[in-house]
Every structure is written in structure tokens, then in C-alpha cells.
Subunit: 201 residues, 2 copies
């Protein structure tokens, strides 16, 4: 039996995915919101965590990895559900060490196949996500530029960003110009829009 | 038998919802992307269309209503899957005449219950969506202000917005001030962020 922990913030979609996987006789499925995921992973000790990395709660991905792996037990494989159009979540899943990547545009058989494969310790990458990975690898912004952009996207002014990050106004303006240029955006609002669309901020 | 057409852009979530509803002996379920939904509605002639109004494809909601209703056949009830935090899609579902509203945070039994109720011609509203409806009713922007905001959110400058909407620069600036004031935002970027979060643009 492969123990699977499904992590998704919406109860309805989580139940639906559980109904889908529950048809397979070799899978034992339980579900959790992102908030409760680390605790659930500790008690269920799943072989595979299937996580929707596009949920807002997926910012907690880092907190799941440790408990899922366990202190001494066998390693738990992370399997990310993602879409090619949003390289940001894909990159975060990669950074968290996910072994499998399944597109939300894929058919249900792909997910079942992926679960069995990562449970056996093998990598699984949906070919349709390749373009997203390419974009993820080419993310042009530095971590500092991303911090500036994140604050700008939250509606902070140049002065507020400077204060929060302990930078001068001129430095923040230089960062904003670099961000706009590197993202190929027309202006600040366009840079925010492009980055949000890609899931970077 | 109640014929149900599930409309969702992601193949995986659509299959998962179909697996969930397929357990009910009185439901006959088929699925469609938003793009193909109108055509599917014409051939399947569903009693209930369960639509995820938060998918990007849900901008096509208006094109589904006619074919779903049919020229002469019995009316098809529209049942929207939504979240309370995003009043924009909720409002669009209401404007399209949806009879049922189920929260994505609800348990699966609620969805099944809702489908049977709207198939019988009765309204169904998840109580947890009440706050979202309240916000939807209080949407402060006029359609013209929304057009301006939508272009601003796409990265258009004041000059570009003026040109596209055949307005003077001063008029666009006045609209932007009104938008910022009415949404309680600190500035233009913040107004865009707030409106996107609520799903208005």
C-alpha cells in the first residue's frame, strides 16, 4: 500500500482528488489543508505528499518538507501539482526538492502513474511542464529585486519600500528600473502584472 | 437521472470532481473546459451546469447561459463554485442568473445536495458565501471606472488608457483618483492589487 497525503486548501477539490485516487486499490489516501499539513504528515507518515503548489497556503511548503521526511523513517516523496503558465510555484516546488511534477491539465491516469513512480523513488516530470521549467530556470530577478517587487506589488510606495528594506530612495528607484528592464515590462505596474502572472510574487 | 455538466479549465480537477459526483447513483456526469462548454451544453442538454467561476476561462460565462438554457427545452440550472474571498466571480455568477452557489471550502456532501436542489428548481446558497455576496453588492466602482482600472491593471499608462477609451488625460486621472478613493487604496498600484484580490479585474 502507498500512503498518500493530499495537500490542498479547498475542501471540495481535496475531497474530489481523494475520490479520484480512492478508486486505486494500492493507494491509501488522506487529505489536509496547507495549514495542518505538517502535523498530518507527522501522524500519517505518508510515502507520497501530493501538494497543490498554486494554493495561497503553499507558502508553507518549506514547513512540510521536514515533517514529511521524518526524523528517522523512510523519506517521503513530494509530488507537485502545477501549471506550465506559472513558473513561480514550479520553481518553489523544485527548490523544496519535489521528486514529481504533474500538470493540472493532465488526465487523471498521469497523476496515478506519477504517484506510483515517485513512491518507488523515481523522478516524474510531465512533459507539458517543460516550458514552465525553462522559464523557472531563466527567472531574471535577484532575491533583493524580488523583495522590492513584492513590496511594490502590495501597494508600497518607493519611500515605504526604502524604509522597510533600509535602502535609499535612489537605490529603490534603481532596483525598480532594473526590474522593469529585466522583465521586459513597459512600466512598474506592467512589471508587477507580469511577475504576478508568472507566480513570482 | 440528473444530467450534470462540469465546467472547469483544469482536466485534473474536472476529472476529480467527476469522480466525486460519479459515486451518486442519480447523477450522470460529463465534463468540459470553458472553451468547449457552450458546445457541450448543446449536445449533453444538462439539467445542471456546475461551473468553476474562478477559472480564467469563466469570462465565457455569458456564452454558456444561452446554449445551456436551450431554445425550447427545459431550463438548465447554473451552479457556481466560488470562494467568499473573491466577490468578483460571485457577482458575475449572480449576473448570469446562477441558481446555486457552493463554496469551494464546503464539504462534498454540500455540492451533491446543491445539485439536487437546483435541479428541482430551488435556489441554493452556501451560508459561508454570505460575506462575499455582501461585498459583491457593495462593489463601489462604476462600469466605466472598472474599464479604466482593468486597462491600468494590464500595465497601460494614463495616456494609453485615454487613447483606448477616447477620453482626455484629465478625465482618466479623475477616474483613477475616484477609483483609489472608493477602494480605500493608498495609491494606484494598491487599488489594482485590492481589486485583483477581490476578483473585480
Amino acid at each position: 500500500m502507498i500512503r498518500v497525503l493530499l495537500v490542498h486548501d479547498g475542501c471540495l477539490m481535496r475531497s474530489a482528488l481523494a475520490a479520484l485516487l480512492g478508486k486505486e486499490s494500492d493507494l491509501e489516501v488522506s487529505g489536509s489543508s496547507w495549514r495542518a499539513a505538517a502535523g498530518q504528515a507527522r501522524s500519517v507518515r505518508p510515502h507520497v505528499c501530493v501538494v497543490d503548489v498554486e494554493c495561497p497556503g503553499a507558502v508553507m511548503l518549506g514547513t512540510l518538507v521536514g515533517p514529511a521526511r521524518g526524523a528517522t523513517g523512510p523519506a517521503c516523496a513530494l509530488l507537485a501539482l502545477a501549471t506550465a503558465a506559472r513558473p513561480g510555484p514550479l520553481r518553489r516546488a523544485f527548490d523544496a526538492g519535489a521528486l514529481g511534477y504533474v500538470s493540472k491539465d493532465a488526465g487523471p491516469r498521469r497523476l496515478v502513474e506519477a504517484i506510483r513512480q515517485v513512491a518507488a523513488g523515481e523522478r516524474f516530470v510531465d512533459e507539458s511542464l517543460a516550458f514552465g521549467f525553462l522559464q523557472a530556470a531563466e527567472m531574471p530577478l535577484t532575491p533583493r529585486e524580488l523583495s522590492v517587487l513584492r513590496l511594490a506589488a502590495e501597494g508600497s510606495t518607493i519611500a515605504e519600500i526604502a524604509r522597510k528594506l533600509h535602502l535609499s530612495l535612489g537605490t529603490v528607484r534603481n532596483y525598480m528600473s532594473a526590474i522593469t528592464r529585466k522583465t521586459g515590462a513597459r512600466n512598474r505596474v506592467d512589471a508587477i502584472r507580469k511577475s504576478q502572472h508568472a507566480g513570482w510574487v
